[in-house]
Amino acid sequence: MRLSILSVLLVLALFAGITAPGQSNGTGAASAPEIRLIDLDGLKKLLQRDPKDARPLLVNFWASWCDGCREEFPDLVKIDDDYRTKGLNFLSVTVDEVEDKAVAAKFLVEMKASMPVVLLNVPDKEPAIHAVDVNWDGALPATFLFDAQGNVIYRHFGKIKPEELRAIIEKQVMSAK
């Protein structure tokens, strides 16, 4: 009898674990971030800095089909967790096609990501790529750090080097205070 109760509890515990994939760190935050669709003007608006907001802005471009993007994402989630309360503004931009929005959302749940995420929905990507940085040709993943004036103070194409990025964020966050 005792074995049966234990078995039931075990099954219930397993079930709870399976049905709550977004439960990440005991904070209760859980579900996938909402993925908002933006066009070129929307992207430009997001990159425009509010003069009253001195926080450095970290922008990461990714796609669910991009291996490097998937591989670096856990490090970006940790950076978001560590620096959001210290004054980092983090924006995640997926360039997945609109029809793959659910795939992107599923990935974000797996990553336990909770930063703001937008999906770049533009017919031609080139103007959007150039609006971000004229030095960028579209290679993914791509990560940019903008200062309060909107200047690109860090850019990295390919997988980030977490320690290098953290050092630059740390410096920017401190100087923004």
Partner: protein, 204 residues
């Protein structure tokens, strides 16, 4: 030592300036080399195909020019262009322009490049760029990424193939446009184009 001090300071200053210039010539903080400017004559190079046989780029070029495309076996974007690249190669070979693929990904060995080409029906020459030396020389960062060279190996176009991974949504065939203008003896009106693609996996 004292009398050589000004010279030492001058040389040290020049070194600092030179290092700063080199650092600033990259496209980012990855220290990736900048691509050659449009109009630059590209030095010939040799690379092996997937069977290990070496070819010079000039030996593979057509009578009217050559298109070099950095490609990948695993990148979904590059793979989305397989049929288009093969069709491009067929269409322009007849006009004197050959397509040459280059795989620079450290994660994709020559045997995989060969089996991928067979599986996907890619019949144009594909070279293996071990150590991504040619990707570095041409400043290639992603797949697919195309370079058009004329008969004198002058770079006329560098960038995307077209503006959509989905063939149904193409509204700008930039690469074909550049080739047609080159064949017509006109200046290439759009010399490049950005598009999302997979980063080339370089040796660390």
């Amino acid at each position: 030592m004292k009398k050589h001090y000004p010279l030492f300071v001058l040389l040290a200053s020049l070194l600092v300036i030179a290092l700063a210039a080199v650092a600033g010539s990259g496209r980012g903080d990855n220290d990736l080399p900048a691509p050659p400017a449009i109009g630059t004559v590209i030095d010939d190079f040799k690379l092996p195909d997937a069977d290990g046989k070496e070819h010079s780029l000039k030996s593979l070029a057509g009578s009217k020019g050559v298109v070099v495309i950095f490609i990948a076996t695993k990148c979904p974007v590059s793979n989305a262009y397989n049929e288009r690249m093969e069709q491009l190669a067929k269409d322009y070979q007849a006009k004197g322009i050959n397509v040459v693929g280059i795989n620079s990904n450290v994660t994709e060995p020559a045997a995989e490049v060969k089996s991928h080409a067979t599986e996907k029906g890619l019949t144009f020459a594909i070279l293996k760029d071990e150590g991504n030396k040619i990707a570095d020389r041409l400043g290639a960062t992603r797949t697919p990424e195309a370079y058009v060279l004329d008969t004198s190996m002058k770079l006329l176009y560098h960038g995307r193939i077209d503006n959509s991974q989905n063939p149904a949504n193409i509204t700008a065939s930039d690469l074909r446009g550049a080739l047609d203008e080159m064949l017509a003896g006109k200046a290439v009106s759009k010399t490049g184009g950005a598009a999302f693609g997979c980063s080339i996996k370089r040796v660390s």
